[in-house]
Symmetry: D2
Subunit: 294 residues, 4 copies
């Protein structure tokens, strides 16, 4: 297929590369153009604007940092909306607010265009390996059209119906499950440590009994090893995503008390300057509150 | 070995039966004596008091409902303490407070007796199948002596050192992991349902991506199916265990904000009369707060 | 002085009327023009746009519902910014976000204009009586210029320095003090009621001992009498203001756990459809959680 | 009247002295007998046990530190229960659990004795000046009998009906109002300080507008002045009382989310070693979480 790709950060570049390797004809755009270099070397066409990346394509993906980046790349002059054909699909993969997902859905529809959401679960190495989990939502025809392209970078595609905004609610939910699992374990590790039981010991028990999921094993390991400084998912991103989840709760009038608690914990960590550490460093603030120092 | 067993509820009876089948010579005691009938039929000896169940035994297990039951069965006249030999071990399996675990450890020691904790993870069917997870703590010699007996009802034994009270902290932690996972999923299912996404849909995504642990699958399934009325772990037990975890936090001066939140949710459910439903019915209170009615 | 006034809701109209009665020469603007009728009858000049209300004036006040209304009245074509003289002052009285307060300060400054904040505490009857409390922040010269006008509707003016955004933080803080006092009393009244003590009895004790402030007496009385349906401060406004306070906490990286809790309680009330009741109806949700029904 | 008084800490001694000065015939008991010396010098009779302090008296007051002290002084051998005549009244003034208040009521009744509660609000200087607020509950005849004695140390007596336990619920509620007001102000002062507004400035605005109660003025002042080290109400007492309030909520099945939050904050402060500082030092932990250091 002829595919456009807007947004070539660590995730976007890896996903675009998968599409290229799968044989799709790719046009790519990134605000800092050098991020497109490797893809262009591998055969992608360089676009000079989001609209150019979209023009004449069957599908255009956007995979950008936040609401502002998605909104400007879509709605501004030379944005995706300007270039998208009526029979093409704009597929939003970014982690954005529920409100923006609805706006994208509605403004594209008002222009006779089609918007679908395909949010993704997984970090850059999984994207490189083509092993993301994808949450797909949109009109049935759009989903059918998009699936073969998604296959290029996903190990499994979950469909959640015709409303694109649903894929965003699901994505925010999945991220919240990560944060709240970290906070659970932070409390558990702290009380055990204060009682004289090594976090590693309780971690081994957890992950060899009923708490064996990747979310336990992967984040618990970082916490036990205090390995917070590898490039991963930074605390600032944690706060952003927790706030998006809470904002969705506000829009839909759903109180989310555990998420409220987690936002407060992220703010505590950020107030102490931990912006760039992995968000599993929430453990250190549970430790601090327990009077554990070292 | 010659083993005594005090407390023959659903868990205790199943564990005792495993010991019997493994060839141990068993004396059993329960306050309501008829609960011992099946074991006596299978060859156990009926004891008329905890002290008699303990007297002359290598090991005496206690598996009772709560602090009061353990304290009276141990410290009262004709309690375990009265019958326990100096070279025997009292192995506490009950889910009790950190404070009582310390008292058991210290009072037995003051009498020259040995106390160890072997808390268990799993429901009665797992106990019947001999597939519990066991958390064992106590003096090295006591642990060595006790392990062969524990093998009768456990799939795996985790050792957490020489302080018996540590096995209780770990057990309370594991239970908290269950409650807080239920509350996480309750919030997630509620916002999805309010947005128009079936809890079953998000449950499938969770349990086929990063949230694949038994704790997700087992409790999530009950929640999705609203199957709260099968005999399981009732809300009142959830409150008891959350309060024990918080009390341990109080003793050790460790704030546990997620646990505090969960205690409040249990109280809300109990105030509405849900004492006997499975504690995963917390979902219904997240739904109520979200304005979901049906 | 020659004064402009933009925004003639219940508060704005009352404040403008005070200015008129104090002898100021007033131009008024409201999007729905009939809201200006009474003021025009009393001698105010009708302006056809915010910029016209601002043009040639010494001071222009804005008193609008929310961020969107303030931003469009200020920054859009024919907004206040278009009409404001370099030697005049735009005085923002609205309850707005910390972020917008900063933007107003900075964009006016970038145009060589002066912005000050004069947020107000009190309900419409206090505004009519000229008995508001005013929180004033801005450059010293601007504060000096503005004070005589503020005297028209205030019983007391508190100055909080030269940064206009400070008056907004203070205002959001004062509103939070109201909400959290309501929630405190909601918990207290609920446990007393469940124990068999009438809320009125505990209310009398509170307000005749150490809890004698207007915030206790006024909101406690509404709660005890369940007098939630008089036009007052609706739940939806409570949520808005709690979210503004939390957003300021986010901007400044300050966790505000009590405010997080209150946002969740407002959402619970709104999910149940209580948008238009007085926000002290939070009591009814504390009662519901306590299993109190009537 | 002939009055006994058990428990001569700072509060109890001051209350007993008021009774003596009012002309009552007083027998006093304290576990550490030297605490009775001043009262004996002033004319009180020294009792050698709680039962002796109660024997032959019309009223015996108990004013002790905690549940354990009250229970042992009442129920143990030579306790109040042993000495109390059938036509006398045991008046409990201590801040105790709801559960113990019920036990005192019921066990006295079972012995044909009368128990009433008269909990007090105020610190030692108010007790010395005879200006406590008293919450009185018990049978009508007992209340009538007791009131003239209470007049000796109270500025006002609030009656809350015939169930003695009600006076304890009210007392725990009043203490919670203090803690939660401190936490409110801690959050408000922190966000203002981080924004660049001195806590003193916002304190002045609060206490000169709608937040003028003693609870605001007295604790706010300590917080603004960081005057936490004067002997006052220590953090450890704050935790104890918050836990009693939460335990009452547990007994009555009333979730108290603000109280849960406050317990966590007290634990954080105690984990850091602040046991002996005034509990208004919660402010310092709100500051720490906001990244304010100095």
């Amino acid at each position: 297929m002829k595919i456009g790709f807007v947004g070539l950060g660590a995730m976007g570049e890896a996903m675009a590369m998968c599409l290229l390797k799968a044989g799709h004809e790719l046009a790519v755009y990134n605000r800092s153009p050098q991020k497109a270099d490797r893809l262009v070397e591998e055969g992608a066409q360089r676009a000079d604007s989001p609209s150019e990346a979209a023009r004449g394509r069957d599908i255009v993906f956007s995979m950008l940092l936040d609401d502002d980046a998605v909104a400007s790349s879509t709605f501004d002059e030379n944005g995706i909306m300007d270039g998208l054909s009526k029979d093409a699909v704009h597929v939003g993969c970014s982690t954005i607010s529920h409100a923006l997902a609805i706006r994208l859905r509605d403004e594209h529809a008002a222009r006779g265009q089609t918007y679908a959401s395909a949010t993704v679960l997984g970090r850059p190495p999984a994207a490189q390996a083509g092993e993301l989990f994808v949450i797909l939502a949109g009109a049935a025809a759009a989903r059918e059209k998009v699936r073969p392209a998604l296959d290029a970078f996903s190990q499994r595609i979950f469909e959640v119906g015709s409303d694109p905004a649903h894929a965003n609610i699901v994505k925010l939910s999945l991220n919240f499950m990560i944060f709240s699992t970290i906070q659970q374990m932070a409390e558990v590790f702290s009380i055990n440590e204060k009682a004289g039981i090594e976090p590693k010991a309780i971690f081994e028990i957890l992950t060899n009994s009923f708490y064996t999921a990747p979310v336990h094993r992967n984040y618990g390991k970082i916490m036990v090893e205090k390995d917070y400084d590898k490039p991963g998912a930074p605390m600032s991103l944690g706060l952003k995503d927790a706030e998006l989840f809470l904002a969705a709760g506000g829009d839909l009038r759903v109180p989310l008390p555990t998420a409220s608690l987690i936002r407060d914990r992220f703010l505590t960590a950020l107030a102490a300057g931990d912006d760039r550490r992995d968000f599993s460093a929430l453990f250190e603030y549970a430790r601090r509150d327990a009077g554990l120092t070292d």
